[in-house]
Subunit: 338 residues, 2 copies
DNA sequence: CGGGAGCTGTTAAGCGGTTAATCACAGTAG
DNA sequence: CTACTGTGATTAACCGCTTAACAGCTCCCG
């Protein structure tokens, strides 16, 4: 059962006032005199009083919690540093406030939808964060139908939901220009699953930048973000006809995996093959050669999303938030084309 | 505010019975006839009823949530695959049930204690999972004082709390025997922070196995689990007098980092230096040479801990749970001593 | 035929807060 | 002296659900 927790009526008894007065005092609302308020607050923290979230939820209808569902296969989620960094950023913005984070990891889209629906039904969360949006994402429809406050981490204009976004397109162009400047012309993008909007956005940017730079053959191959898939795809691309001299990846893990494949195939990096990773977690610095990568402000994204969501929940008018720009961090995995 | 959510009194109205009857029916308790129960349940799921967690908490005192606080510096948490795997395991055991997971990431022990205290005060959680225990851990004292159900992921007998443990000592011995069989005699263990109990346990096992195997010089150096610290330490150890021919690490990230250092120093792995990682996330397979590692059942630990905690919360008598044993997975980072 | 025993259902209190409505009691104006 | 205005409090309803206590009904037995 746990030790006894003081309630406002304990405080009321100790202070010789009604529970109503205690409530007014503790919430800094008018209705009690200054001396009384002080007395009540003294007693409250002498008793170590903390409001019961259930009671508060029940009466004011707010859960003081937000939810995040991560729908990625278990084997991917472990190595992918993205989510932990995102969570760290989320926590940073939540720290100090009354709001808690509910986390769920699912392995299919249905389960994710069910999770939102249930949280909403149980009134467990005041709002949710949406990541990895897909085209015509059913979650968008769902939160709209439920009128569940939601913020998207992704690209704006894909849903009429408030959104925290990062200018990936510019970064894609920057990477391509960089590689072209190094003399590369056959460049392949190893992307995540097509269904993700962010994948498509980057692919579009990749294709158009390639066209602009006069690269006829801007190939894109898709994976599921896993290291195995990346290895398979990389192997195929490198051993196929007309192999590329540079590869651009959609995350860190795949780039590292490709480094291993290059090693296997006896291709030296960056002399014979250049690699560019995406996200730039510590992984990129860990391997040899250290990977050139596009650094994105992941924790910043999480924190911004939380702030935005809290505003939405508070009923304020909000606008899309753009984070700081990604930046290419050149290291040792990129060099002049062979 | 969100769309309207049905309550039991909506159901009661629709079924022409009292809310009490509805409650009995929906909870499968005696007190209503079979036909009535069925009618009520039909109406309930036609209306899409989901119980309000706040209301339920308030009346039965249970939060239907458990809490996990991870107290590691932000820069470590991102790359460390351990926690995400643990969380995946936790979710697996929670899936389908009514219990949610509250997650908090903090960057100091005080904040962690505060988090538990607050969750308890708010009655937000029914119990908590404790990881990374230290000697005389204040959290143990805290949960005892609060009578907050808790389960330790770590070694038994360090606290009188139920515990999920893995036989690391045997694994340490196995690794050492393996290395000695390969001819290594100068072996250094690159460990996590001394304050963690699991660090000490492994160190003790390391020292005693070394003694048993007649290795006089079983050195242990400590780090904070970060790749930077590991690189620093590895560099120092390898360039100092009487350098080791094999290194055993306390996690994956440090081993990968050391691989980079070896590369820097022109030491070839495994010809001149053998490396053994710990945990065996995908990281180990990603790098070249692939790292020999001790694989631990991390997700299994998480799942077992959840089940144990739910039992404790339910008031059942429980015992420590031992997970399956870790196993050494030899890959290409270990070989005969030079 | 009186009086349990069993079902099926209702009533109402309570969980810990919030808050509209009300009240007692100044002080102050008319 | 009455009426009005504020101020600082209390009261009680309510949020949605659980559950002990009780009530009506049928059935069965001595």
């Amino acid at each position: 059962m746990g030790a006894k927790r003081p309630t406002i009526s304990d405080i009321a008894k100790a202070a010789g006032v009604s529970t109503g007065a205690v409530s007014y005092a503790l919430n800094n609302r008018p209705g009690v005199s200054e001396p009384t308020r002080r007395r009540i607050m003294d007693i409250a923290d002498r008793l170590g009083w903390v409001p019961s979230s259930a009671a508060r939820s029940l009466s004011d209808g707010r859960a003081n919690a937000i939810g995040l569902v991560v729908d990625r296969p278990a084997r991917v989620i472990g190595v992918e540093p993205y989510f932990m960094q995102l969570i760290a950023g989320i926590q940073g913005a939540l720290a100090g406030g009354p709001t808690a984070l509910l986390l769920q990891v699912t392995d299919n889209a249905q389960a994710e939808l069910a999770a939102y629906r249930r949280w909403w039904g149980e009134r467990r969360v005041d709002g949710v964060l949406l990541v990895d949006l897909v085209e015509d994402d059913p979650r968008v429809e769902l939160v709209r139908e439920l009128r569940l406050p939601a913020v998207v981490l992704g690209e704006p204009e894909v849903a009429d939901l408030p959104c925290v976004w990062t200018d990936d397109e510019a970064a894609v162009a920057e990477v391509l220009e960089y590689l072209v400047a190094l003399g590369h012309r056959r460049i392949v993008r190893v992307a995540g699953p097509t269904r993700f909007v962010h994948t498509r956005t980057r692919s579009r940017a990749f294709t158009s930048a390639a066209a602009r730079l006069g690269l006829g053959e801007a190939r894109i191959v898709h994976t599921d973000y896993s290291d195995e898939a990346a290895a398979r795809v990389t192997r195929r691309v490198l051993t196929g006809g007309d192999p590329p001299t540079a590869l651009v990846f959609d995350n860190d893990v795949m780039a590292v995996s490709a480094l291993g494949v290059a090693h296997e195939l006896g291709l030296s990096v960056p002399e014979q093959l250049s690699l560019v990773a995406w996200d730039d977690s510590a992984l990129c610095r860990l391997v040899r050669p250290a990977l050139s990568a596009v650094r994105r402000p992941i924790a910043e994204r999480g924190a911004a999303a939380v702030r935005l969501l809290l505003d939405v929940i508070a009923g304020e008018a909000v606008e899309h938030v753009k984070t700081s720009d990604p930046e290419l961090v050149p290291r040792s995995s990129t060099g002049p084309a062979a």
